[in-house]
């Protein structure tokens, strides 16, 4: 199909094209909801079966990093929304600024996630042959809070006394943890790629009050990724903190 300016050949008007693109993205997000939904269901069923193991697994996560990341991601949603606004009101320069801010915050999020993954690796909490919930409490790492570590140790020991298979159940928790956060991170990476493309476009001054469909559509996607995290954070980090 031929393209005239910003209008693709199969459409009659720019407005129709914009509506279509937005609807397309919304429907894509519906499939994403169900895609993550399958994981959430798996998580729910297993968590209700093994709440102790899941609680212990959850408590080994670093709540400061998790909460910090939540703030970072929500902030990136704000800058994304502002980028859309800038395009809508024709502040071409601001579009680029806000997009870069979004990308920056997204990168920070992924970086923190990387740090957390590294920790889990060091603590022998990657599902597989070397997985051992007992390892970390007995092998302190530099920078660990001894009080917290002692608490963890007590918790793990108690759990082991009753259920020698807590490692298997803990592995389930971490399989789901890596599955869910990994898939979320993958979505972030794809989103970051889209942002780079948008930033290029914004430098070329492509986005105007008349034509800002790409910014808006990518914005929808980005906010969705944010929403997934809004649910992942309490489910993975906070389920058993009150013990």
């Amino acid at each position: 199909m031929h393209r005239t300016g910003d209008l693709y050949g199969q459409f009659q008007t720019l407005e129709q094209q914009k509506e279509t693109a937005a609807l397309g993205m919304w429907i894509f997000l519906v499939t994403e909801v169900l895609f993550f939904g399958g994981l959430f269901l798996t998580y729910t069923i297993n968590r209700s079966a093994y709440s102790t193991a899941f609680g212990i697994g959850s408590n080994t996560l670093d709540i400061k990093l998790g909460a910090g990341n939540t703030v970072v991601l929500i902030m990136s949603s704000l800058t994304m929304a502002m980028a859309v606004w800038s395009a809508q009101v024709g502040k071409k320069k601001l579009v680029g600024v806000f997009l870069i801010a979004t990308l920056g915050l997204g990168t920070v999020f992924l970086g923190v996630k990387g740090v957390e993954y590294k920790q889990k690796f060091d603590h022998h909490l990657i599902p597989g042959r070397n997985f051992d919930m007992k390892y970390h409490p007995t092998h302190p790492m530099p920078g660990d809070d001894p009080k917290e570590l002692a608490l963890e140790k007590k918790e793990v020991e108690e759990a082991f006394a009753h259920d020698p298979d807590i490692n298997a159940h803990g592995q389930l928790y971490f399989s789901l943890y890596f599955g869910m956060t990994g898939l979320h991170a993958l979505h972030m990476i794809i989103g970051a790629g889209l942002l780079v493309w948008l930033i290029k476009g914004s430098f070329a001054g492509r986005f105007t009050p008349q034509y800002n469909t790409p910014v808006e559509v990518v914005g929808l996607y980005w906010h969705f990724v944010d929403i997934v995290w809004i649910f992942l954070f309490p489910l993975l980090y906070l389920i058993d903190r009150h013990r």
């Binding site: 407005e15 509506e19 937005a22 609807l23 919304w26 429907i27 997000l29 519906v30 909801v33 169900l34 939904g37 399958g38 959430f40 269901l41 729910t44 069923i45 297993n46 209700s48 079966a49 709540i63 909460a67 939540t70 703030v71 929500i74 902030m75 949603s77 704000l78 994304m80 929304a81 502002m82 606004w85 809508q88 009101v89 298979d165 298997a168 914005g219 929808l220 906010h223 969705f224 944010d226 929403i227 809004i230 649910f231 954070f233 309490p234 489910l235 980090y237 906070l238 389920i239 903190r241 009150h242």
Partner: protein, 113 residues
């Protein structure tokens, strides 16, 4: 259909609300509310998600068609989670020979051998 432009003021208000929500979740997680911990955590998360959808994603100002799409997503998610959990949750109340009570263990499984 003219485009509705949301003012930055709204965005910042929503952002503030989301921050407060995050604060509440984290605070509540350390209190012991028994069964209600999970309810609070997911309740706040749902409110936060709704705010994002309505304002950041402009669903509030979108055509009915888009709103219908969102409702469908939530509805189907509810079907999947609801009906599956209904199976698991009714197993403990299932009837037992002569007793009118259940047999099946919860998904607790473990195989020996």
């Amino acid at each position: 259909m003219s485009e509705h432009i949301v003012s930055p003021k709204v965005y910042f208000t929503i952002f503030a609300a989301l921050m407060v929500g995050t604060g509440i979740t984290v605070w509540a997680a350390f209190q012991n509310f028994g069964k209600f911990n999970i309810v609070i955590a997911l309740g706040v998360a749902t409110i936060k998600a709704t705010l994002v959808v309505l304002y950041f994603m402009h669903a509030r100002y979108s055509p009915h068609r888009t709103q219908l799409v969102i409702v469908c997503a939530v509805f189907w998610l509810a079907i999947m989670l609801g009906l599956t959990l209904a199976d698991y949750d009714t197993r403990p109340h299932d009837m037992q020979p002569g007793e009118g009570r259940l047999v099946q263990p919860t998904p607790a499984h473990f195989l020996s051998v």
